[in-house]
Symmetry: C2
Subunit: 208 residues, 2 copies
DNA sequence: ACCTGAACACCGTTCAAGT
DNA sequence: ACCTGAACACCGTTCAAGT
């Protein structure tokens, strides 16, 4: 006699993902996995299973695994941009706002390791200038350039080529973020201290 | 009649790897693969095959895939340290030597992408303070600290905490390297230009 | 000591088929 | 339109066996 066949280890939600919800749920689940277990532990089968969905359902929403990762990176860049702009606006669009922007960058990297490692791990190949990832990344970078130009116009920082200045400053905050992510800045307090120190030294230089 | 057996493409060399040579050959082949095809394309089976050796031979020399990657990272850090010390020594252990050190760092990252991505890709888990990778990484970092202390003693740079100074400067060169590796500094000329700019701005600050 | 071959559990991806 | 199940080629790792 056939038991009603909803046995299933966990009880799968019937068809919750029928209106574009699934794409977003998969993205979220992928980020969560990378954040907790590292990028090597991300499997499409695992994502599907944890979402109570066939392991091939993903292909309805992304081209392949690479496509899923590209979506993670693009979302990450959009989130980063929002965090930067918010800090800059909230703190007066001057020296203080600019320092807050730097702190916000590092805070984003530490808080969203899952996104960050995909954004800068060489996972998404450099290629295409106009793919979603490159555009989102360019927008985030542009937020930094804009803040620099605005400060230059108000005479707050040197009037060098804004692009070169932006690259230089981006290197600093990105470098600090990587130090933190690789465990070389063990406590959050040490990361914050380095950000403060960097802001000071960035302004005045190391020459004696 | 047997041609002298330096033919190559196919023909597997009988038992060339019987005295510790194999471990090094595998390391080299792994680096070459990562450099050319990215870290995701590295498979133990492929390494074995290209070396004309069983796909499980690797387990005689490394604990597992992770162990192979750890060896790559450790070797990378040792090479990086050597490159830094060499630049510093060769250019007079002063301001010029220090700038050469920065340039050497970025040059290493760009020339040895395979090593560099493993060293800083979150591939080797942060853990153990006294594992081979951490020790080698610490030694490389120490070379930077030493150069800073020496300059401080000669009054060339500010006398802040050398550790904090080293972290800050490391962030700059590492950040520039990542920009280059991710294709945001398309030409080598642009990378070099940014290094020169960073050196100048590092010394004198961005405040106006 | 060093290497092999078969085996196991797992993976990304394709494709015909179901609703 | 969206999802499933079976199938394929591939992967890391183990282990008994060979020299």
């Amino acid at each position: 006699m056939p038991r009603p066949r909803l046995s299933r280890p966990a009880r799968k939600p019937p068809s919750r993902y029928h209106h574009g919800d699934l794409a977003h749920a998969m993205l979220q689940e992928a980020v969560r996995t990378i954040q907790k277990q590292g990028i090597a532990a991300l499997t499409l089968r695992g994502v599907g299973e944890r979402l109570g969905v066939s392991r091939t359902a993903l292909y309805r929403h992304f081209a392949d695994k690479q496509g899923l990762l590209a979506a993670v990176a693009a979302e990450g860049f959009r989130m980063l941009r929002a965090a930067l702009v918010e800090a800059w606006d909230a703190r007066g669009r001057g020296r203080e706002g600019f320092e807050a922007m730097g702190a916000a960058y590092v805070r984003f990297a530490v808080a969203h390791t899952g996104h960050y490692r995909v954004m800068f791990g060489g996972v998404v190949p450099p290629g295409n200038e106009d793919c979603e990832v490159s555009v989102a990344g360019g927008d985030a970078f542009q937020a930094l350039v804009d803040a620099i130009v605005e400060q230059q116009q108000r005479g707050l920082i040197v009037s060098d080529d804004p692009l070169q200045l932006a690259r230089y400053i981006w290197s600093v905050v990105h470098g600090i973020s990587m130090l933190a992510l690789d465990g070389l800045l063990p406590t959050p307090a040490e990361a914050e201290a380095l950000v403060r120190y960097a802001n000071e030294r960035l302004r005045t230089g190391i020459a004696q």
